[in-house]
């Protein structure tokens, strides 16, 4: 992919807070017009990275290009970049519409123009447009925060945990809006701890741990590169299934805390091809296989494996 198509390009990006290294030589290429997921355990450096993209902080070292131009050392973000970190910033004494109108005026737009109604409709807040934000739930605030970001018609949208507190309908609105933006060529970078959200929305994902990039690329590649995953097998004869599984090369029987997540079923750790082979062997041995499913979704499993958290979770 040529650099011209990159919305974000980072090389050796470093950021420290005192003795704490938040970002440690991060290299990243985020393609334009796609939805990128940013995942990582707490303290991995996600918010710091998003803050650098938004111009809220300056890196201590490395190179960062946003929308094709290098980011300077001055605090403040480039034009056409919008979003929020640590929740949207809203003023509780103003209504949703007035929050947007004040922001529109700040950006030199006509606060009475129809764009405010458009973005309110886009995030599903038309009905509460004239209510004060003071009474909004977390999910409504998140949606209004997205509306604020949309108001500026950004080319790069940076969102920190945009699905926090959203009910299913709200999530549908937000996901729909983000997909439409990507279709229109807007690059979306969002962080989330919800692997199902990332899986449902993102075409690419970057996994950070301890300030370093552990993986960055398309979701399919992550799945293909994934190491072994835990599978739950519900069979007609668990004892026989256990005996058969123990003899298949590449299959490990999971015991302990991880096995308990199988809710009484047999739990094995293996790669996807090996599990397919195990199912064939079981059928051949006359053991009926009623269900085969990953104990945790593949992206979550990859996340846990890449961030060295799988072992900790099993303890």
């Amino acid at each position: 992919m040529g650099d011209a198509q990159l919305a974000v390009r980072a090389r050796g990006l470093t950021k420290c807070f005192g003795d704490v290294v938040a970002l440690d030589g991060v290299g990243l290429d985020l393609a334009s017009g796609r939805i990128h997921g940013l995942a990582g355990p707490n303290g991995a450096g996600k918010t710091t990275l998003l803050g650098l993209l938004l111009g809220l902080a300056v890196a201590d070292g490395g190179e960062l290009e946003v929308l094709g131009r290098p980011v300077g050392r001055a605090l403040a973000g480039p034009r056409q970049v919008a979003g929020f970190v640590d929740g949207p910033g809203l003023y509780p004494s103003l209504t949703a519409r007035k929050n947007l109108a004040a922001l529109a005026a700040l950006h030199g737009r006509d606060p009475r123009a129809g764009r405010i109604d458009e973005v309110l409709a886009e995030v599903g807040l038309t009905d509460v447009a004239d209510d004060r934000v003071r009474g909004f739930s977390l999910g409504m605030r998140q949606r209004l925060g997205l509306a604020v970001a949309l108001l500026t018609e950004p080319r790069l949208l940076v969102l920190d945990e945009p699905s926090n507190g959203l009910d299913p309908a709200g999530k549908q609105h937000v996901h729909g809006a983000l997909r439409r933006l990507a279709e229109d060529g807007v690059t979306v970078v969002l962080s989330s701890h919800r692997m199902d959200d990332l899986e449902a929305l993102c075409s690419d994902v970057t996994i950070l741990a301890a300030g370093r990039v552990r993986f960055s690329g398309p979701l399919e590649k992550l799945a293909a590169d994934s190491p072994e995953v835990d599978y739950r097998l519900l069979t007609s004869d668990p004892q026989a299934a256990l005996t058969v599984a123990a003899e298949v090369a590449g299959v490990r029987i999971v015991t302990g805390a991880a096995a308990r997540r199988g809710a009484g079923a047999l739990v094995v750790r293996a790669s996807a091809p090996t599990v397919e082979q195990l199912v064939g062997t079981l059928v051949h041995a006359g053991v009926g296989v009623r269900e085969v499913a990953p104990v945790v979704p593949p992206l979550e499993a990859a996340f846990l494996a890449l961030t060295d958290q799988q072992q900790e979770g099993e303890r």
Partner: protein
């Protein structure tokens, strides 16, 4: 190329950053401020309550004589706004600056909106400027309300009549109006200094309630300092003196020297504190929620610049006024008392329809001492005693009257008549139209602290 130089060297061709103009940030901040019920309530209170207060007090039998111009509230509508100014300098203005300036930055910390604002504005400097200007605008609006409301209340309740100045001379209503306006304008300078200190505290302490209290605490400290027997250069170099120095506008000739020094000092404090707050703000790391080192920053950006400014101001005033004394001397007290007595005697003469006399004819003089002559006659104290002597045309024997004086460290004095009864020993005089307050019974005065003030 090292990573660090890569970023540093990229400044020239950096991503296009077009910050929002300060004017738009200012309007945005004003909208936010006036949408707060707290601010709306304050605006309403400042534009309504002073008028009602002044009108009510002016109608009462007992006037706030312990406040400068308080004893003249029944006589002219122009005394009300000055009484309110005296009161506001002590309490209202510091509290208003606390609520407005002290919360301008802390409010964003409380709401967690800094990052959002910075992304929208794209310039911490412009953000700071917009917020500071918006806070200042609201403060000016509140101060204007206090002035307008108290003036309307005073004029409506008492009327547009001449005002008795701090040295007893009469100011025509138009001169009184001009003086009132100027006095409030001068009081804006220390108000802005307190507001700047509030901004500094707000930036420094974030969401901590201490940030909100900084202007009020600073004002209390300034008031306490003004009550202490400080040398003149130090007194004038404190921004709080400007809350007192406007009194000199109502003397004849007006004591502009100490007023200008006080206003200049206050404005210097406002500039330095605002600059320190701005520097602190633009250096803030908005991605680090757990910023530490508040004490170190408070020292480097808060205490050190203001302490430096104080030292510089003291040195500058000391060059102009090389005195280590209080500025209150026997000669100044005697001159102030005799001048005020002469002016007020003419007022009493007019009240009683006696034959008019001029001050030249009266030849008033005063002899003052402290502690019955046992105390060095200089400095503040309530043990001053003056014997005033005057002459009337065609009368051989001079008249004499005695006053007990309470002289405050900031130069304000209050003279309490001790007889004879028909001159200054009783609070009422019998006029052809009935009893009226006796202008010679008690009166206020203001001693110029600078050496240049006439002895």
């Amino acid at each position: 190329m090292s990573t660090a130089t890569a970023l540093a060297g990229s400044t020239g061709a950096a991503t296009e950053v077009t910050p929002v103009p300060v004017g738009r940030v200012y309007r945005f901040e004003v909208v936010k401020l006036v949408s707060q019920w707290r601010i709306r309530l304050l605006v309403l209170a400042c534009w309504v309550i002073p008028g009602l207060f002044v009108a009510a007090v002016a109608q009462q039998g007992t006037l706030p004589a312990d406040t400068l111009f308080g004893r003249w509230m029944h006589a002219t509508g122009w005394a009300g706004p000055l009484v309110l100014l005296g009161f506001s300098g002590s309490w209202a203005l510091p509290l208003l600056t606390s609520v407005v300036a002290g919360d301008v930055f802390a409010g964003e910390d409380r709401l967690g909106t800094w990052r959002h604002l910075l992304v929208a504005v794209r310039s911490p400097r412009r953000l700071f400027a917009g917020k500071a200007l918006a806070g200042g605008t609201v403060l000016v609006l509140l101060v204007a309300g206090l002035l307008a409301s108290s003036t309307v209340g005073g004029l409506a309740a008492v009327g547009n009549r001449p005002l008795v100045g701090v040295d007893g001379h009469l100011l025509a209503p138009s001169d009184a109006a001009q003086g009132v306006l100027l006095a409030w304008a001068c009081a804006l300078a220390p108000t802005l200094a307190l507001a700047a200190i509030g901004l500094l505290g707000s930036v420094l302490l974030g969401r901590s309630p201490m940030g909100l209290l900084v202007p009020a605490l600073a004002a209390v400290a300034m008031q306490v300092a003004q009550m202490l027997p400080l040398p003149v250069p130090l007194r004038l170099a404190l921004p709080g003196y400007a809350f007192v120095s406007w009194n000199g506008l109502f003397a004849e000739p007006a004591r502009l020297d100490q007023l200008l020094i006080a206003v200049a000092v206050s404005l210097a404090w406002a500039v330095v504190a605002t600059a320190a707050a701005c520097l602190l703000f633009v250096r803030r790391d908005f991605t680090n929620g757990s910023e530490d080192g508040v004490q170190r920053r408070a020292l480097a950006f808060g205490v050190a610049p203001l302490a430096g400014l104080l030292a510089l101001s003291v040195a500058a005033v000391a060059v102009a006024e090389p005195s280590t004394g209080s500025g209150i001397t026997q000669a100044k007290v005697e001159r102030e008392v005799s001048t005020a007595f002469g002016h007020l005697y003419r007022l009493q003469t007019e009240q009683l329809h006696r034959s008019a006399v001029t001050e030249e004819q009266l030849q008033v003089s005063a002899t003052c001492d402290r502690g019955d002559g046992h105390v060095d006659p200089q400095g503040a104290g309530n043990d001053w005693r003056c014997v005033v002597t005057w002459h009337l045309p065609g009368v051989t024997a001079p008249g004499t009257a005695v006053y007990q004086l309470d002289v405050a460290p900031d130069g304000r004095l209050m003279a309490d008549g001790d007889g004879p009864k028909e001159v200054n020993g009783y609070f009422l005089v019998q006029t052809p139209s009935g009893d009226a307050p006796n202008p010679l019974w008690q009166f206020d005065g203001e001693i110029g602290l600078l050496a240049a003030a006439p002895d």
